[in-house]
């Protein structure tokens, strides 16, 4: 278990600044998710924490101890890669045990015990003698997680571990990772993703990154309910928050009005009128896309299966207690 502190951490590749001064604290035993669009520097930040990249300036502390120049293997971390990064010529067992066999003074029984314990946690015990190429994507990812568990790390790092899995497997593995976090409650976990659903479902706290800077850090509900900027408001939540500008926003005395699709109702006396241009029926919910003279169509999320033919006119009203008002600089007005 470790707390991690980043103090004004910067990273440049040549002339390109990727991380532009990040201050962040990850608490002991916390599940922290870095989320952001591609190119925001979230993977780089994770690699800086892992030690696979050197930080250009600033300080990185594990449990109050500066680790700027400590080798990855000395930091007490384990990492799960997007591509699994299994050793293709070694069996599952060898993959999981490889790091341990190199440590001095580890006897074989101890290693076997630890590998088998991890394998049992992930239900991959029956695959221990197989080569990675004989496993499916989901099984490989579990082996990669198993390898990380075997290391018994202070900090667990995940670099987009679900990106290469198909949708169903992604949900299943997501739940397994959440369970893992509960079982290993003394391990700090940092998880990188571009998928805000993963972030919302897994995180104790989320760190939203944008352009190499921290945009906001908070619990999923904090980010959902009180975003610190238009960027965070638009990034967290699905479907994406609607941003309404112009006259309609002026009525609420703000530059941009943010309304989530689930915070709008279709009513005959609705204050806004729009034309249905498309409907997505998901069974449990229905999304209707309304043309309202805004830059993008406004999405309204309704419960259950509902039918609104394209071209029909619909009146909607926002839930006034759930409105997000932003000023011209994109900051919230509270």
């Amino acid at each position: 278990m470790a707390s991690i502190e980043l103090r004004n951490v910067r990273k440049s590749f040549g002339l390109v600044d990727v991380i532009k001064g990040v201050d962040l604290e990850v608490r002991k035993g916390e599940f922290m998710v870095f989320v952001g669009p591609s190119g925001c520097g979230k993977s780089t930040l994770l690699r800086l924490i892992s030690g696979l990249e050197d930080i250009t300036s600033g300080e990185m502390l594990f449990d109050g101890q500066v680790v700027n120049h400590l080798a990855p293997s000395k930091r007490g971390i384990a990492m799960v890669f997007q591509s699994y990064a299994l050793y293709p010529h070694m069996t599952v067992y060898e993959n999981m045990a490889f790091g341990l066999t190199l440590e001095k003074g580890k006897d074989k029984d101890e290693i076997r015990r630890r590998v088998e314990k991890a394998a049992d946690m992930l239900q991959i015990r029956q695959y221990l003698d197989r080569l990675p190429k004989q496993l499916s994507g989901g099984q490989r990812q579990r082996v990669a997680i198993g390898r990380a568990i075997t290391r018994d790390p202070r900090v667990f790092l995940f670099d987009e571990p679900l990106s290469n899995l198909d949708a169903a497997l992604r949900v299943a593995t997501r739940i397994e990772i959440a369970k893992l976090h509960e079982e290993m409650d003394n391990v700090t976990m940092i998880y990188v993703t571009h998928d805000q659903v993963e972030a919302m479902t897994l995180a104790d706290r989320i760190c939203v990154l944008r352009d190499g800077l921290v945009e906001q850090v908070g619990t999923p509900m904090e980010l959902y309910e009180r975003p610190d900027s238009i960027f965070v408001a638009g990034f967290i939540g699905s479907p994406k928050m609607n941003f309404i500008t112009g006259e309609k926003a002026d009525r609420f005395s703000c530059n941009t009005l943010g309304v989530r699709g689930e915070h709008m109702q279709v009513r005959d006396d609705g204050i806004w009128e729009g034309t249905v241009i498309h409907t997505e029926n998901l069974g449990a919910d229905t999304y209707i896309y309304l043309e309202m003279g805004q830059e993008e169509p406004v999405v309204v999320r309704l419960e259950g299966a509902q039918d609104y033919p394209s071209g029909s006119t619909v009146r909607v009203s926002p839930d006034e207690s759930k409105l997000h008002r932003f000023d011209a600089s994109g900051k919230p007005m509270r």
Binding site: L52, P72, F81, Y87, G99, L102, Q126, Q134, R151
Partner: protein
């Protein structure tokens, strides 16, 4: 142990009736292969069969078409001396000059391929690292391989020349040599000279083949190894070497085949030296210089068999997989 349905290779039963598409593909493949097969038959198959046939005749250069079948006489024949009753064996299989050439060839092949592999691996590892100007270095390293063998052999023979050669001159000036050495002419150093030139010339080829194999290894497993705390030397032996092995095995077999039939370099650099004469060199001598066409053919045939034997052994022992990828 495994109870779940897995991606384990399940053998599909061979279908008796092949689909029309499969048949069509097989037919197309045959047509595409045909020109190559004809070309190979004409330029490789026919001369090979012809050589083998000549090796069982008494052919000579000025009587190729009137050659008569003499069976295995070129390989081994014996004669019982009436006076003493002793048996005298003659022919290729008991010819010390031939076995000297075989020994020279094998020695040459072993040492040259060994050094080329080790040095090629080192060069490939360096070229696989990222540094400024890597593209230029990669191109530059190919120069020895790009120079025609005759040219590089001549170039080296001047550099190794006992009177005017730059290597003797350098050695004398630096005090490394007490007297000038006839590198290519002296029996003790001739093989070393040939080896040095061949290694200089062929290491780039080896390096490039190995480099191609190295680049197939995903970078992220080195990062995983970094986190596992695997020492770089251990990374090389435990990760790089096993993973580059398939490419390495194919590279080695190319080089062994080349080295076993080495001719041009030795012919130019150390002509007529018993210390370096290889199978190809003596076969050519007999075929054209000594007018023992049938005997030379027998040597060529044996050379072919020896190479075939080496290749078979190598593929069998090394279980080389020519389909690429690891076993």
């Amino acid at each position: 142990m495994a109870t779940e349905a897995m991606v384990s290779p399940v053998r599909t039963p061979v279908r008796a009736v092949r689909s029309e598409l499969t048949q069509q593909r097989a037919r197309a493949a045959r047509w595409f292969l045909l020109p190559m097969m004809i070309a190979l038959l004409v330029v490789a198959g026919w001369p090979l069969l012809r050589s083998i046939w000549f090796s069982f005749t008494d052919a000579s250069l000025n009587n190729l078409y009137g050659a008569e079948w003499i069976g295995l006489g070129n390989y081994l024949r014996w004669q019982v001396l009436e006076s003493s009753g002793t048996v005298r064996y003659r022919g290729l299989l008991v010819d010390p000059a031939w076995w000297n050439a075989v020994w020279n060839t094998v020695r040459f092949a072993f040492w040259s391929v060994l050094w080329e592999t080790v040095l090629g691996m080192i060069v490939a590892l360096v070229l696989n690292a990222e540094f400024r100007g890597r593209g230029i270095v990669r191109a530059a390293i190919l120069i020895p391989w790009a120079i025609p063998t005759i040219v590089s052999a001549k170039m080296w023979s001047w550099m190794l020349n006992d009177q005017f050669g730059i290597l003797n001159d350098l050695g004398m000036r630096l005090g490394l040599l007490s007297q000038k050495v006839a590198w290519t002419a002296s029996a003790e150093t001739a093989m070393t000279a040939v080896l040095v030139v061949d290694i200089w010339k062929t290491t780039p080829f080896m390096a490039l083949l190995i480099l191609a194999g190295l680049q197939m290894i995903p970078k992220d497993i080195y990062e995983a190894a970094e986190i596992d705390g695997v020492h770089p030397v251990k990374q090389f032996f435990k990760i790089t070497l096993p993973l580059v092995r398939p490419a390495l095995m194919v590279a080695i077999i190319f080089r062994v085949l080349d080295a076993l039939r080495i001719f041009d370099l030795i012919y130019v650099l150390t002509p007529n030296s018993d210390a370096t004469k290889t199978m190809s060199v003596v076969a050519r001598e007999n075929l054209f210089d000594f007018d023992n066409f049938a005997y030379g053919s027998a040597q060529s045939t044996l050379l072919f068999l020896i190479i075939a034997l080496f290749t078979t052994l190598y593929i069998w022992l090394g279980r080389v997989n020519f389909d690429g990828g690891s076993r």
